[in-house]
Symmetry: C2
Subunit: 221 residues, 2 copies
DNA sequence: GATGATTTGTGCGTATGTATG
DNA sequence: GCATACATACGCACAAATCAT
Protein backbone atom coordinates (compact mmCIF):
# COMPACT_ATOMS: atom_id res chain seq x y z
CA UNK A 1 0.00 0.00 0.00
CA UNK A 2 2.88 2.29 0.63
CA UNK A 3 3.16 3.32 -2.95
CA UNK A 4 -0.34 4.77 -2.90
CA UNK A 5 0.45 7.63 -0.56
CA UNK A 6 -0.54 11.08 -1.65
CA UNK A 7 2.15 13.72 -1.94
CA UNK A 8 1.72 16.56 0.46
CA UNK A 9 1.98 19.59 -1.73
CA UNK A 10 4.78 21.98 -1.00
CA UNK A 11 4.02 25.16 0.93
CA UNK A 12 3.03 28.10 -1.21
CA UNK A 13 6.16 30.05 -0.48
CA UNK A 14 8.21 27.21 -1.87
CA UNK A 15 6.06 26.72 -4.97
CA UNK A 16 6.09 30.47 -5.49
CA UNK A 17 9.85 30.61 -5.30
CA UNK A 18 10.10 28.13 -8.15
CA UNK A 19 7.30 29.73 -10.12
CA UNK A 20 8.56 33.30 -9.90
CA UNK A 21 12.08 32.12 -10.64
CA UNK A 22 10.82 30.36 -13.75
CA UNK A 23 8.95 33.46 -14.81
CA UNK A 24 12.15 35.47 -14.55
CA UNK A 25 14.25 32.89 -16.37
CA UNK A 26 11.60 32.52 -19.07
CA UNK A 27 11.58 36.26 -19.56
CA UNK A 28 8.02 36.82 -18.36
CA UNK A 29 9.57 39.34 -16.02
CA UNK A 30 12.39 41.05 -17.83
CA UNK A 31 15.66 42.31 -16.34
CA UNK A 32 15.22 45.76 -14.83
CA UNK A 33 11.46 45.33 -14.67
CA UNK A 34 9.59 45.92 -11.46
CA UNK A 35 7.63 43.21 -9.69
CA UNK A 36 4.72 44.29 -7.51
CA UNK A 37 3.80 41.98 -4.68
CA UNK A 38 0.15 42.92 -4.55
CA UNK A 39 -0.34 42.41 -8.27
CA UNK A 40 1.33 39.04 -8.17
CA UNK A 41 -0.81 38.11 -5.21
CA UNK A 42 -3.95 39.00 -7.09
CA UNK A 43 -2.88 37.11 -10.21
CA UNK A 44 -1.98 34.01 -8.24
CA UNK A 45 -4.98 34.28 -5.97
CA UNK A 46 -2.84 34.21 -2.87
CA UNK A 47 -2.04 36.59 -0.08
CA UNK A 48 1.17 38.59 -0.07
CA UNK A 49 2.66 36.66 2.85
CA UNK A 50 3.98 33.59 0.98
CA UNK A 51 4.93 35.78 -1.97
CA UNK A 52 7.12 37.93 0.24
CA UNK A 53 8.87 34.84 1.58
CA UNK A 54 9.60 33.66 -1.94
CA UNK A 55 10.90 37.10 -2.89
CA UNK A 56 13.33 37.09 0.04
CA UNK A 57 14.82 33.87 -1.30
CA UNK A 58 15.09 35.22 -4.82
CA UNK A 59 16.69 38.32 -3.41
CA UNK A 60 19.25 36.22 -1.58
CA UNK A 61 20.06 34.41 -4.82
CA UNK A 62 20.48 37.70 -6.59
CA UNK A 63 17.70 37.14 -9.10
CA UNK A 64 15.84 40.17 -7.85
CA UNK A 65 17.19 43.27 -6.18
CA UNK A 66 15.44 45.45 -3.64
CA UNK A 67 16.07 49.05 -4.52
CA UNK A 68 16.50 51.92 -2.10
CA UNK A 69 12.75 52.42 -1.99
CA UNK A 70 11.99 48.79 -1.23
CA UNK A 71 10.84 48.05 -4.72
CA UNK A 72 11.45 44.65 -6.20
CA UNK A 73 13.44 44.82 -9.44
CA UNK A 74 14.44 41.90 -11.62
CA UNK A 75 18.22 41.61 -11.61
CA UNK A 76 19.79 43.40 -14.53
CA UNK A 77 23.35 42.24 -15.13
CA UNK A 78 26.23 44.52 -16.03
CA UNK A 79 29.18 43.50 -18.18
CA UNK A 80 31.33 43.27 -15.05
CA UNK A 81 28.81 40.80 -13.61
CA UNK A 82 29.27 38.58 -16.63
CA UNK A 83 33.00 38.55 -16.03
CA UNK A 84 32.49 37.76 -12.34
CA UNK A 85 30.11 34.95 -13.11
CA UNK A 86 32.37 33.36 -15.67
CA UNK A 87 35.39 33.48 -13.42
CA UNK A 88 33.44 31.64 -10.74
CA UNK A 89 31.95 29.29 -13.24
CA UNK A 90 35.36 28.28 -14.55
CA UNK A 91 36.66 27.64 -11.05
CA UNK A 92 33.63 25.58 -10.09
CA UNK A 93 33.02 23.66 -13.28
CA UNK A 94 36.64 22.68 -13.58
CA UNK A 95 36.31 21.27 -10.08
CA UNK A 96 33.16 19.48 -11.19
CA UNK A 97 34.97 17.82 -14.07
CA UNK A 98 37.81 16.66 -11.85
CA UNK A 99 35.42 15.16 -9.34
CA UNK A 100 33.39 13.51 -12.06
CA UNK A 101 36.50 11.87 -13.44
CA UNK A 102 37.16 10.47 -9.98
CA UNK A 103 33.63 9.52 -9.14
CA UNK A 104 31.47 8.81 -12.18
CA UNK A 105 30.70 5.13 -12.73
CA UNK A 106 31.05 3.52 -16.14
CA UNK A 107 27.34 3.71 -16.56
CA UNK A 108 27.30 7.38 -15.72
CA UNK A 109 30.10 8.03 -18.16
CA UNK A 110 28.10 6.16 -20.79
CA UNK A 111 25.21 8.47 -20.11
CA UNK A 112 27.33 11.54 -20.76
CA UNK A 113 28.64 9.93 -23.92
CA UNK A 114 25.12 9.26 -25.12
CA UNK A 115 24.22 12.92 -24.78
CA UNK A 116 27.26 13.79 -26.87
CA UNK A 117 26.33 11.26 -29.53
CA UNK A 118 22.77 12.49 -29.71
CA UNK A 119 24.08 15.97 -30.13
CA UNK A 120 26.40 14.91 -32.91
CA UNK A 121 23.58 13.14 -34.71
CA UNK A 122 21.42 16.22 -34.58
CA UNK A 123 24.12 18.48 -35.90
CA UNK A 124 24.84 16.22 -38.85
CA UNK A 125 21.33 16.74 -40.12
CA UNK A 126 21.04 19.64 -42.50
CA UNK A 127 17.95 20.95 -40.74
CA UNK A 128 18.06 20.51 -37.01
CA UNK A 129 16.18 21.98 -34.13
CA UNK A 130 18.46 24.48 -32.47
CA UNK A 131 16.66 24.28 -29.16
CA UNK A 132 17.22 20.57 -28.99
CA UNK A 133 20.95 21.04 -29.45
CA UNK A 134 21.05 23.78 -26.85
CA UNK A 135 19.25 21.49 -24.47
CA UNK A 136 21.69 18.65 -25.10
CA UNK A 137 24.62 20.95 -24.47
CA UNK A 138 22.98 22.03 -21.28
CA UNK A 139 22.59 18.40 -20.29
CA UNK A 140 26.25 17.73 -20.92
CA UNK A 141 27.27 20.31 -18.36
CA UNK A 142 24.54 19.24 -15.96
CA UNK A 143 25.52 15.60 -15.97
CA UNK A 144 29.13 16.44 -15.21
CA UNK A 145 28.04 18.67 -12.36
CA UNK A 146 25.67 16.04 -11.07
CA UNK A 147 28.20 13.21 -11.12
CA UNK A 148 30.68 15.34 -9.23
CA UNK A 149 28.57 14.24 -6.24
CA UNK A 150 29.25 17.42 -4.31
CA UNK A 151 26.00 18.96 -3.12
CA UNK A 152 27.40 22.35 -2.30
CA UNK A 153 29.13 22.59 -5.65
CA UNK A 154 25.86 21.81 -7.35
CA UNK A 155 24.09 24.44 -5.36
CA UNK A 156 26.57 27.15 -6.25
CA UNK A 157 26.56 26.16 -9.89
CA UNK A 158 22.79 26.18 -9.91
CA UNK A 159 22.67 29.77 -8.87
CA UNK A 160 25.27 30.56 -11.51
CA UNK A 161 23.20 28.78 -14.13
CA UNK A 162 20.24 30.97 -13.25
CA UNK A 163 22.23 34.03 -14.06
CA UNK A 164 23.46 32.59 -17.32
CA UNK A 165 19.89 31.95 -18.27
CA UNK A 166 19.15 35.61 -17.75
CA UNK A 167 21.97 36.62 -20.05
CA UNK A 168 20.45 34.45 -22.70
CA UNK A 169 17.18 36.28 -22.43
CA UNK A 170 18.98 39.55 -22.74
CA UNK A 171 20.85 38.77 -25.86
CA UNK A 172 20.19 35.40 -27.26
CA UNK A 173 20.80 35.25 -30.93
CA UNK A 174 23.36 32.60 -31.49
CA UNK A 175 25.32 32.56 -34.64
CA UNK A 176 25.92 28.94 -35.22
CA UNK A 177 28.37 27.62 -32.74
CA UNK A 178 26.87 24.16 -32.46
CA UNK A 179 29.75 22.41 -34.18
CA UNK A 180 32.40 24.30 -32.24
CA UNK A 181 30.70 23.58 -28.94
CA UNK A 182 30.31 19.94 -29.80
CA UNK A 183 34.02 19.64 -30.58
CA UNK A 184 34.95 21.25 -27.30
CA UNK A 185 32.58 19.04 -25.35
CA UNK A 186 33.97 16.02 -27.11
CA UNK A 187 37.49 17.03 -26.16
CA UNK A 188 36.53 17.41 -22.51
CA UNK A 189 34.84 14.06 -22.53
CA UNK A 190 37.74 12.27 -24.19
CA UNK A 191 40.07 13.43 -21.44
CA UNK A 192 37.51 12.32 -18.89
CA UNK A 193 37.46 8.88 -20.44
CA UNK A 194 41.24 8.70 -20.17
CA UNK A 195 40.81 9.64 -16.49
CA UNK A 196 43.02 12.62 -17.09
CA UNK A 197 41.35 15.07 -14.76
CA UNK A 198 43.90 17.82 -15.21
CA UNK A 199 43.57 17.90 -18.97
CA UNK A 200 39.80 17.56 -18.76
CA UNK A 201 39.63 20.51 -16.39
CA UNK A 202 41.87 22.58 -18.66
CA UNK A 203 39.67 21.76 -21.64
CA UNK A 204 36.63 22.83 -19.62
CA UNK A 205 38.21 26.15 -18.73
CA UNK A 206 39.17 26.73 -22.32
CA UNK A 207 35.64 25.89 -23.46
CA UNK A 208 34.06 28.23 -20.93
CA UNK A 209 36.49 30.93 -21.90
CA UNK A 210 35.35 30.72 -25.51
CA UNK A 211 31.77 30.82 -24.33
CA UNK A 212 32.57 33.91 -22.30
CA UNK A 213 34.24 35.68 -25.19
CA UNK A 214 31.30 34.89 -27.38
CA UNK A 215 28.81 36.21 -24.85
CA UNK A 216 30.78 39.39 -24.30
CA UNK A 217 30.86 39.88 -28.06
CA UNK A 218 27.07 39.69 -28.19
CA UNK A 219 26.65 42.01 -25.23
CA UNK A 220 28.85 44.62 -26.90
CA UNK A 221 26.32 45.02 -29.71
CA UNK B 1 23.88 69.77 5.42
CA UNK B 2 23.93 66.58 3.44
CA UNK B 3 26.25 64.81 5.80
CA UNK B 4 23.77 65.14 8.65
CA UNK B 5 21.16 62.79 7.25
CA UNK B 6 19.88 60.04 9.49
CA UNK B 7 20.23 56.46 8.36
CA UNK B 8 16.95 54.81 7.64
CA UNK B 9 17.02 51.66 9.69
CA UNK B 10 16.81 48.43 7.81
CA UNK B 11 13.53 46.51 7.72
CA UNK B 12 13.07 44.01 10.52
CA UNK B 13 13.30 41.02 8.22
CA UNK B 14 16.74 42.16 7.17
CA UNK B 15 17.97 42.93 10.68
CA UNK B 16 16.57 39.63 11.82
CA UNK B 17 18.40 37.74 9.13
CA UNK B 18 21.71 39.13 10.39
CA UNK B 19 20.78 38.69 14.02
CA UNK B 20 19.60 35.09 13.77
CA UNK B 21 22.58 34.25 11.59
CA UNK B 22 24.89 35.69 14.23
CA UNK B 23 23.11 33.71 16.93
CA UNK B 24 23.70 30.53 14.97
CA UNK B 25 27.34 31.33 14.23
CA UNK B 26 27.94 32.32 17.85
CA UNK B 27 26.49 29.07 19.02
CA UNK B 28 23.45 30.54 20.74
CA UNK B 29 21.46 28.16 18.60
CA UNK B 30 23.41 24.95 18.27
CA UNK B 31 23.58 22.63 15.27
CA UNK B 32 20.65 20.23 15.26
CA UNK B 33 18.69 22.43 17.65
CA UNK B 34 15.19 23.52 16.87
CA UNK B 35 14.22 27.16 16.41
CA UNK B 36 10.63 28.09 17.13
CA UNK B 37 9.28 31.11 15.29
CA UNK B 38 6.74 32.06 17.89
CA UNK B 39 9.25 31.96 20.74
CA UNK B 40 11.73 34.06 18.79
CA UNK B 41 8.96 36.51 18.00
CA UNK B 42 8.12 36.85 21.65
CA UNK B 43 11.73 37.28 22.72
CA UNK B 44 12.37 39.89 20.05
CA UNK B 45 9.05 41.60 20.59
CA UNK B 46 8.11 41.30 16.96
CA UNK B 47 5.48 39.52 14.98
CA UNK B 48 6.27 36.28 13.25
CA UNK B 49 5.99 37.74 9.77
CA UNK B 50 9.46 39.34 9.46
CA UNK B 51 10.97 36.39 11.30
CA UNK B 52 9.58 34.00 8.72
CA UNK B 53 11.10 36.05 5.93
CA UNK B 54 14.49 35.98 7.63
CA UNK B 55 14.22 32.23 8.12
CA UNK B 56 13.53 31.68 4.42
CA UNK B 57 16.82 33.43 3.62
CA UNK B 58 18.74 31.41 6.18
CA UNK B 59 17.14 28.29 4.74
CA UNK B 60 18.28 29.26 1.27
CA UNK B 61 21.81 29.71 2.58
CA UNK B 62 21.69 26.32 4.22
CA UNK B 63 22.18 27.59 7.74
CA UNK B 64 18.85 26.19 8.81
CA UNK B 65 16.96 23.26 7.40
CA UNK B 66 13.20 22.81 7.32
CA UNK B 67 12.37 19.26 8.25
CA UNK B 68 9.57 17.15 6.84
CA UNK B 69 7.19 18.54 9.43
CA UNK B 70 8.02 22.15 8.67
CA UNK B 71 10.12 22.60 11.75
CA UNK B 72 13.15 24.84 11.66
CA UNK B 73 16.38 23.04 12.55
CA UNK B 74 19.85 24.57 12.74
CA UNK B 75 22.03 23.00 10.07
CA UNK B 76 24.03 20.11 11.39
CA UNK B 77 26.94 19.26 9.11
CA UNK B 78 28.04 15.76 8.23
CA UNK B 79 31.63 14.76 7.51
CA UNK B 80 30.77 14.58 3.81
CA UNK B 81 29.59 18.19 4.00
CA UNK B 82 32.99 19.24 5.32
CA UNK B 83 34.63 17.60 2.35
CA UNK B 84 32.20 19.29 -0.04
CA UNK B 85 32.77 22.68 1.53
CA UNK B 86 36.54 22.39 1.42
CA UNK B 87 36.58 21.32 -2.20
CA UNK B 88 34.55 24.39 -3.11
CA UNK B 89 36.59 26.58 -0.86
CA UNK B 90 39.84 25.51 -2.49
CA UNK B 91 38.45 26.17 -5.95
CA UNK B 92 37.14 29.59 -5.00
CA UNK B 93 39.92 30.84 -2.76
CA UNK B 94 42.57 29.86 -5.23
CA UNK B 95 40.67 31.96 -7.74
CA UNK B 96 40.56 34.77 -5.19
CA UNK B 97 44.33 34.71 -4.79
CA UNK B 98 44.91 34.80 -8.52
CA UNK B 99 42.59 37.76 -8.95
CA UNK B 100 44.15 39.56 -6.02
CA UNK B 101 47.57 39.19 -7.55
CA UNK B 102 46.24 40.78 -10.70
CA UNK B 103 44.18 43.46 -9.07
CA UNK B 104 45.43 44.46 -5.63
CA UNK B 105 47.13 47.85 -5.51
CA UNK B 106 50.45 48.32 -3.72
CA UNK B 107 48.62 49.87 -0.83
CA UNK B 108 46.24 46.93 -0.60
CA UNK B 109 49.16 44.53 -0.69
CA UNK B 110 50.77 46.49 2.11
CA UNK B 111 47.60 46.06 4.12
CA UNK B 112 47.74 42.31 3.77
CA UNK B 113 51.40 42.38 4.73
CA UNK B 114 50.61 44.38 7.83
CA UNK B 115 48.13 41.76 9.00
CA UNK B 116 50.81 39.12 8.54
CA UNK B 117 53.33 41.13 10.50
CA UNK B 118 50.93 41.77 13.33
CA UNK B 119 50.26 38.08 13.47
CA UNK B 120 53.94 37.29 13.57
CA UNK B 121 54.50 39.76 16.38
CA UNK B 122 51.77 38.20 18.43
CA UNK B 123 53.07 34.70 17.99
CA UNK B 124 56.56 35.66 19.04
CA UNK B 125 55.28 36.63 22.44
CA UNK B 126 55.39 33.80 24.91
CA UNK B 127 51.85 34.51 26.08
CA UNK B 128 49.55 35.65 23.32
CA UNK B 129 45.82 35.88 22.95
CA UNK B 130 44.73 33.03 20.74
CA UNK B 131 41.55 34.76 19.64
CA UNK B 132 43.52 37.70 18.35
CA UNK B 133 45.65 35.42 16.22
CA UNK B 134 42.61 33.59 14.93
CA UNK B 135 41.09 36.92 14.02
CA UNK B 136 44.22 38.02 12.17
CA UNK B 137 44.29 34.79 10.21
CA UNK B 138 40.69 35.33 9.35
CA UNK B 139 41.53 38.83 8.16
CA UNK B 140 44.28 37.51 5.94
CA UNK B 141 41.84 35.36 4.02
CA UNK B 142 39.23 38.09 3.99
CA UNK B 143 41.49 40.71 2.53
CA UNK B 144 42.55 38.44 -0.28
CA UNK B 145 38.94 37.66 -1.04
CA UNK B 146 38.02 41.31 -0.87
CA UNK B 147 40.79 42.50 -3.18
CA UNK B 148 39.83 39.89 -5.74
CA UNK B 149 37.17 42.47 -6.61
CA UNK B 150 34.69 39.87 -7.75
CA UNK B 151 31.34 40.36 -6.03
CA UNK B 152 29.92 36.98 -6.84
CA UNK B 153 33.05 35.24 -5.63
CA UNK B 154 32.80 37.11 -2.37
CA UNK B 155 29.21 36.15 -1.97
CA UNK B 156 29.88 32.46 -2.50
CA UNK B 157 32.84 32.52 -0.16
CA UNK B 158 30.78 34.31 2.46
CA UNK B 159 28.28 31.53 2.57
CA UNK B 160 31.14 29.05 2.79
CA UNK B 161 32.65 31.00 5.66
CA UNK B 162 29.38 30.75 7.54
CA UNK B 163 29.55 27.02 7.36
CA UNK B 164 33.16 26.95 8.49
CA UNK B 165 32.16 28.99 11.49
CA UNK B 166 29.64 26.34 12.40
CA UNK B 167 32.29 23.65 12.29
CA UNK B 168 34.34 25.66 14.69
CA UNK B 169 31.49 25.73 17.16
CA UNK B 170 31.12 22.02 16.84
CA UNK B 171 34.66 21.13 17.57
CA UNK B 172 36.86 24.00 18.33
CA UNK B 173 39.80 23.05 20.38
CA UNK B 174 42.85 23.92 18.42
CA UNK B 175 46.10 22.39 19.32
CA UNK B 176 48.55 25.07 18.53
CA UNK B 177 48.80 25.57 14.83
CA UNK B 178 49.45 29.29 14.91
CA UNK B 179 53.05 29.02 13.76
CA UNK B 180 52.27 26.56 10.99
CA UNK B 181 49.41 28.68 9.73
CA UNK B 182 51.54 31.78 9.79
CA UNK B 183 54.23 30.09 7.75
CA UNK B 184 51.73 28.97 5.16
CA UNK B 185 50.15 32.41 4.96
CA UNK B 186 53.58 33.94 4.57
CA UNK B 187 54.36 31.58 1.74
CA UNK B 188 51.15 32.50 -0.07
CA UNK B 189 51.87 36.18 0.39
CA UNK B 190 55.45 35.93 -0.82
CA UNK B 191 54.27 34.41 -4.08
CA UNK B 192 51.66 37.13 -4.35
CA UNK B 193 54.33 39.74 -3.97
CA UNK B 194 56.31 38.14 -6.79
CA UNK B 195 53.09 38.33 -8.84
CA UNK B 196 53.31 34.62 -9.31
CA UNK B 197 49.61 33.83 -9.25
CA UNK B 198 49.99 30.17 -10.11
CA UNK B 199 52.35 29.47 -7.24
CA UNK B 200 50.31 31.61 -4.89
CA UNK B 201 47.17 29.68 -5.78
CA UNK B 202 48.97 26.37 -5.30
CA UNK B 203 50.19 27.48 -1.90
CA UNK B 204 46.64 28.46 -0.98
CA UNK B 205 45.28 25.07 -1.99
CA UNK B 206 48.01 23.36 -0.03
CA UNK B 207 47.26 25.52 3.00
CA UNK B 208 43.54 24.82 2.84
CA UNK B 209 44.23 21.15 2.41
CA UNK B 210 46.19 21.11 5.66
CA UNK B 211 43.37 22.98 7.31
CA UNK B 212 40.93 20.43 6.01
CA UNK B 213 42.98 17.49 7.24
CA UNK B 214 43.26 19.11 10.62
CA UNK B 215 39.53 19.72 10.86
CA UNK B 216 38.70 16.19 9.79
CA UNK B 217 41.07 14.94 12.44
CA UNK B 218 39.19 16.87 15.09
CA UNK B 219 35.82 15.74 13.81
CA UNK B 220 36.91 12.11 14.01
CA UNK B 221 37.23 12.37 17.78
C1' DG C 1 2.28 71.15 -2.63
C1' DA C 2 -2.22 68.69 -1.01
C1' DT C 3 -4.98 64.50 -1.81
C1' DG C 4 -6.13 60.10 -2.96
C1' DA C 5 -4.27 55.66 -4.71
C1' DT C 6 -0.51 52.28 -4.46
C1' DT C 7 2.78 49.67 -2.29
C1' DT C 8 5.55 47.96 1.27
C1' DG C 9 6.41 46.58 6.33
C1' DT C 10 4.52 44.50 10.03
C1' DG C 11 1.06 42.72 13.45
C1' DC C 12 -2.53 39.52 14.20
C1' DG C 13 -6.18 35.89 13.72
C1' DT C 14 -7.37 31.47 12.25
C1' DA C 15 -7.21 26.85 10.24
C1' DT C 16 -4.70 22.83 10.00
C1' DG C 17 -1.50 19.81 11.59
C1' DT C 18 1.50 17.84 15.40
C1' DA C 19 3.00 16.59 19.97
C1' DT C 20 1.75 15.40 24.66
C1' DG C 21 -0.57 13.47 28.14
C1' DG D 1 -8.24 7.23 20.95
C1' DC D 2 -9.30 11.92 22.72
C1' DA D 3 -8.43 16.42 24.51
C1' DT D 4 -5.36 20.01 25.14
C1' DA D 5 -1.47 22.77 23.91
C1' DC D 6 1.60 24.35 20.40
C1' DA D 7 3.56 25.41 15.68
C1' DT D 8 3.25 26.56 11.18
C1' DA D 9 0.97 28.35 6.78
C1' DC D 10 -1.59 31.71 5.28
C1' DG D 11 -4.94 35.54 4.79
C1' DC D 12 -6.04 40.02 6.17
C1' DA D 13 -5.75 44.75 8.19
C1' DC D 14 -3.55 48.92 8.94
C1' DA D 15 0.27 52.37 9.10
C1' DA D 16 3.89 54.70 6.83
C1' DA D 17 6.15 55.81 2.65
C1' DT D 18 5.74 56.80 -2.16
C1' DC D 19 3.50 57.97 -6.38
C1' DA D 20 0.22 60.25 -9.30
C1' DT D 21 -2.83 63.74 -10.26
Amino acid sequence: MESYFVEKSLPFYDQLYHKIKKMILDGVFKPGERIVESKLAKEMNLSRTPIREAIRVLENEGLVVIDEKSRIIVYNPTVKDVEDVYQCRMALESLAVKLSVQRASDQEMAEIEKVLELCNNKIEQREYDKDEVIDLNFQFHNLIIHYSANDLLQKHLNSIKSRLHLYRILNFQGDDRAQIIYNEHKKIFDYMKEKNETKAAEAMVEHLNHDYKHLIGLLAT
